[in-house]
């Protein structure tokens, strides 16, 4: 009986592997291929052409951009966790008209294509001297990721028993103390998924970084890749090598932290 139900899983598993791994395989295959090797991307490269990576690192400044992305991602996520959980608490706990309004407003912002307000946003940043600065990009990213963080936190806090707050209130705790001492420690699982989801978005952001980080020393990963793809017209392979290097940090982070990743999502998504 047990054996019988097993066999059909194999073809499905293989299909999943083929569909989800072939893009990565193609990327690896192009990245290691010499520009002169014109055989199909499916075939293994005739030789491992490491020069692609050398030029990606030296010309494309990939390593510097990885460092920039790391600073921006960590900075953004820290602020997101604080501002997001703070705003979510009253939203989850109070059922007033005002809050319902705030809630749909936040959902709305989550869905705005940022481009629709790009130029006025840009001039605001110019006035604040935020162009070509880490904090300018960080605060912008935080603003546009904040709705997602608030959404996740609100859902989670709603699932926490109200009795917690009420007990705290009876003990004479004000809402600020209640939040920091009672609620916040309960938020670890959802914080994991906020960090994961928004962190990936910040790492991968292209549109905002493009306008805010114009100095080539401040380029983030997607910027470095985009400009490398548009500049090396004759060497797609080096561009692919750059792309491969660029996706390594998040993919490796995911593979090592997989357990927490998926657990964080599982713990928080539904409650």
């Amino acid at each position: 009986m047990k054996k019988k139900t097993q066999w059909w899983r194999l073809p499905i598993a293989i299909l999943i592997c083929v569909v989800f791994l072939s893009p990565l395989y193609i990327l690896v295959s192009v990245a290691f291929r010499s520009p002169a090797d014109l055989s199909s991307y499916w075939s293994l490269p005739s030789e491992f052409h490491i020069e692609n990576f050398v030029s990606a690192i030296s010309e494309g400044k990939i390593l510097k951009s990885i460092a920039n992305s790391a600073i921006i991602t960590v900075g953004s996520v820290l602020i997101l966790v604080v501002a997001g959980s703070l705003a979510a608490y009253p939203l989850a706990r109070k059922k007033t008209r005002f809050n319902a309004g705030v809630n749909s407003f936040i959902l709305g912002i989550m869905m705005v294509p940022p481009l629709s307000i790009l130029v006025s946003l840009y001039s605001v940043l110019v006035d604040l001297k935020g162009i070509n600065s880490y904090w300018g990009l960080i605060l912008t990213l935080v603003t546009f990721e904040l709705p997602l963080a608030i959404f996740l936190y609100t859902n989670f806090i709603k699932s926490l028993p109200k009795a917690l707050d009420e007990a705290a209130a009876i003990d004479g705790c004000g809402p600020i103390r209640t939040f920091f001492q009672i609620i916040l420690p309960q938020l670890m699982p959802v914080t994991a998924s906020v960090v994961i989801l928004t962190g990936v978005h910040c790492w991968n952001d292209y549109q905002f970084s493009l306008y805010i980080m114009q100095n080539s020393n401040l380029r983030t990963v997607p910027l470095a890749i985009a400009s490398y793809f548009s500049q090396t017209t004759s060497n797609v392979n080096a561009a692919a090598a750059a792309a491969l290097l660029a996706i390594l940090p998040p993919v490796l982070a995911f593979l090592f932290l997989q357990k927490y990743f998926i657990k964080g999502m599982v713990d928080s998504a539904i409650k």
Binding site: I12, A13, I16, F20, S22, P23, L24, I26, V30, L38, S40, Y41, W42, A83, G84, L86, A87, P90, K94, S104, L107, G108, M110, M111, V112, P113, L115, S116, I117, V119, S120, V124, L128, L139, T143, F144, L146, I150, F151, P175, I176, F179, V200, N204, Y206, Q207, V221, P222, A226, A243, A246, I247, V251, A253, Q258, F261, M265, V266, A269, I270
Partner: protein, 297 residues
């Protein structure tokens, strides 16, 4: 009683303080630029010059007769709802498949989730290696089976479908994980009881699994819809909205109108229209989902 309500009101107003960081950010980076955008949308500004004049609501009138806007609007809805549909159906199927215990399932979960980590822009570049006419990996397979090479992205509607599929497959991992979580929250005893009563597996799925998954559906639909309606990076890497205007979403169209056609006033009008449209869609969808949720619980 009176004292209580006073205290209560004090609590309430103190709790409003919690909004401050978020509100400051939203005002500076969203609301203020948004209002400025309304002003721009009533001008013929070209996006950079210091000279422009007011044109009233002309840009809005033009919006309703512009066939490029219509195409982009339809495409945006396909990107949004198409992705959502695929991601939820496939995500649920994958979750059901991977919820059972067998060897290698955690590896498969990881494989499915991994593309989520890749920047959509880079995914777009990778897909270009697959879909291009010359040397494209997909055409290599087509030709291996004796078919004729296809210029995949040359046909607008086909390009839209393919990019919807790419977006859906890249992010199906998120829905899968949400549904896995949902499945694990369903107590096993429900199934045990149903099995004892002789309920068939399909009926179990229909009457136990689906209703109890409802909160998961809400999360997954919201997240997917947002991603799909805002689709930008993949389009810009794969087709730049082409051929012509055939595969533009409203986001890429705004960008193109603003910077390419140098029509900032009109682009702002399209942008605001997009904003309102998405607001309406999202509120309708969340309302429907919320209503169903109440029924279930």
């Amino acid at each position: 009683m009176k004292k209580n309500s006073l205290q209560n009101r004090l609590r309430q107003s103190q709790m409003n303080l919690f909004y401050i960081p978020a509100l400051v950010l939203f005002s500076v980076f969203v609301i203020y630029p948004f209002i400025k955008g309304i002003f721009i949308s009533t001008t013929n500004w070209n996006g950079y010059s210091q000279n422009y004049k007011s044109v009233g609501i002309k840009n809005y009138l033009r919006l309703f007769t512009d066939k490029n806007v219509r195409t982009a609007l339809i495409n945006t809805l396909i990107y949004g709802f198409g992705s959502t549909l695929i991601q939820n159906a496939l995500g649920l199927a994958l979750a059901l498949f991977l919820n059972e215990k067998f060897r290698g399932r955690s590896v498969l979960r990881a494989i499915i989730y991994m593309p989520v980590m890749i920047a959509p822009l880079i995914m777009g570049y990778i897909m270009y290696f697959l879909f291009s006419y010359n040397r494209g990996a997909l055409n290599d397979i087509v030709m291996l089976f004796g078919g004729e090479a296809v210029d995949w992205m040359a046909n607008g509607p086909r390009a839209v479908m393919l990019m919807t599929l790419v977006n859906a497959l890249q992010f199906v991992g998120i829905s899968m994980v949400i549904y896995l979580a949902g499945l694990q929250n369903i107590p096993a005893m429900y199934y045990e009881a149903a099995a004892l009563d002789g309920v068939k597996p399909f009926a179990q799925f229909r009457y136990i699994t689906l209703p109890l998954l409802h909160p998961a559906v809400t999360s997954a639909v919201t997240v997917n819809l947002i991603g799909g309606l805002k689709l930008y990076d993949i389009i810009s890497a794969l087709t730049s909205g082409g051929p012509g205007y055939a595969s533009h979403s409203l986001s890429t169209l705004v960008h193109r109108t603003y910077f390419g056609a140098e029509n900032a006033g009109y682009a702002s009008a399209i942008g605001l229209f997009t904003f309102l449209l998405i607001m309406v869609i999202s509120s309708i969808v969340t309302r429907i989902l919320a209503a169903k949720e109440v029924e279930v619980s």
